[in-house]
Amino acid sequence: MRKTSIALRLVSSLLVPAALLCVHVAASAQYEIDKQVSEHKKNAKQYMMSREPEKAAAELKAVIELDPADFEAHGNLGFLYYMQNDCANAVIELRRAAEIQPAMWREQAMLGICEDRLGDQEKARPDLEAAFPHLDDTMLARQAGLTLLHLYSHKEDLPKSAAVLAELSEKNPKDPQLNYSAYQLYTALLGEAVTRLSVNNPDSMELHRVMAHEAIRYGDRISAVAHMRAAIKLNPTMPGLHVELANMLISGGPGGDKAEAEKEYRLALDANPREVIALYRLGDLAAGRGETQTAMDYYSKAVQLSPDEPQANIGLAKIYLSKQQPETAVVLLENAIKRDPTNEIAHFRLSEAYRQLGRADEMKQQFDEFQKYKALKDQQRKLYGGLKLHRDEPDEIDADAEKK
């Protein structure tokens, strides 16, 4: 027993230093590898910064040779290939990086983009769907989003496209390509809604309502009014229909009929006494006939119900201006502008209010704003004219006429 224990002690006294020696050797070998990896990485970084991709790639390959599990090196090498449009090699490296270290969103997004370019859409889609919500880099997010849109368009997955586009547009509101994609997508979605309505409910009130709006867009007011009347016949109590019909009737030109419009606004008000649009439109009609007190009553009620409604505030302000009470008009017009800063009529009337108050600088500032927004709206009108389309809303009071 004692002999055994001595022997064991002897053996262990020999083994422990040997093991320590092994550990020491291994550690120094690892130290050497780490040192080389670190050196190659440093070089790669420098070459990447000095835009020498080939040299950077060679350094990264050296890293991978020393440490095949270095996801950073795989990721960076994949990035270099991606930047050189070498998707075949980029995919290998980026996929390896993702295998070693999941949730590297930038790398996964580039992987998805490259997979799509190589025609492997089945793999591209999940990679991009996973990465897209996490991307901070605006450029890469845009590219990933556009690729996803492209993939969804193949599958005709319009709802998913809408979600991606909403996010992209929020981040890039002035991007023409995205604006066009948005136009294309929403046109497709509205077409899909119309088709479904036509298939499932061809005689519904809703389809007549759609047909009315499409007709007015195309400038066929007569047909629009007929469809809107058919819609009301099918569902006389549907909120909003009388106002929509009245809005179509109130405009001048063929199909318009102000007296009928007034009737419809009144019907809308009978159905819902809190119908703000009907109130201010009836105010407009009364004001047009010179019935100032009636107009004022309508506008005041509308403002009371919806204090920041621009049209109601503008209408009421106009009456106060005619009564030479510019202080009250200013408050109302500022309300309108707060809600709709691009409302050129509000700016125009505010400049008039300031004129009455003798505040020349503010008058000028508001007049400049009026001109700025009027020019913008004229541009929009020109666009609609060029497209032979008509705006689906009643004519606004022509501020120019007032200016004269």
Partner: protein
Amino acid sequence: MKQKCLLYSAAVLLLQSASLLLLQPVTAQVAATQPAAQAGEPSKEQKIAEHRAKAQRYMAGKQLDAAITELQALEHLTPEDVEVHGNLGVIFFFKNDCAHAVPELRRTNELRDSLWRQMALLGFCEERLGDKENAIKDLEKAFPHTDDAKLNRDVGEALLRLYAVNNDMTRAAGVMTVLRDKNPTDVQLLYSAYQLYTDLANEAMLSLSLVSPNSAEMHRLMAHESLRYGDRVNGIAQLHEALKANPKMLGLHEELADALNSTLEGGNKDEAEKEYKLALAENPNDELSLCRLGEIAENHGDIQAAYDYFSKAVQLRPEDVLANLGMAKAYIAMKQPEKAAELLEGVVKRDPTNDVAHFRLSTVYRQLKRYDDAKRELAEYQKYKEMKDKLRKIYHNLRLHQESPDEGVTDAEKKQSATP
């Protein structure tokens, strides 16, 4: 009125499934675990148990005012009890008393933030009281978690109303996507979708016209609008302008070719063929151009060329309807009806409403002497054709025109099919 209905239905729904919140049957439990009260003066716990039992009874009997009195007494005794606040909130909501419902429901959500139904009710009430900001916040939180279909729809519609007031159409589009997914044939929702997407398309159009009025994108957009309303001549002119502005813009050659590929005014089949070839040179994987070139070759009587184009398209996208239809037609011309039948059966399986596929399948079955099948497919063709004709009529009334080239069974095919 609508909002009242909504509040009512949501409250009924909650009361019906009130197991989530209704007070636990704790009477016996409390009585068993608490020390006996001194004679004449019930302990706090006994009072709690008594009020709870009464509240439960009144709620079950729908005596809401009496239930409120009991719950308010409980609230005084146990101010941190989430169930008490929740039940009070639900009852006030049910009574259309949003002013009182809001503080109770808000407290409920402060005490436990995963009570999605209560959060939805809080949002409804905040909307009614004009507190749009908080209504949006609470309804947005509740929307993804409300499992009940009716409540989920009510929450979604409330969000759509609130976004409309804020003119936040992008967020509205997100909610609409979810609602449409869950209610694909709901007519009211389809109309709302039409309205929203029209607004969004208009917004994108105006935005583009301001940001980049002379861009290729703007000309492309104008081309689509022209084509949509049947003005092919202007549509083609705008696409030429777009190409001038950006000759490398992907997809333009194909769009121009589609516009040209018509027998109607402005159409020019030879030009269309050129443009499809340019599209293909730009992107050899463009299966749509391959299909169109296949159709053109087939019209020229060059069946081999047509077969080559279509088979390449099928290879690229095996499930592409147009490619499979075209290739099947080539097989029919090459007197290989078995192969054609296989492709057409695949198309019908994927798209049972495809009238052209049914028609060609009836032709193929006749060639294969499967007369019953041929008869069935012809009936299917007639059914779906009638349906599509109705749709075409509606589109015609809407003055909307298909932007894609003319498709369907050709007269030549019909003649050929009528031949025994």
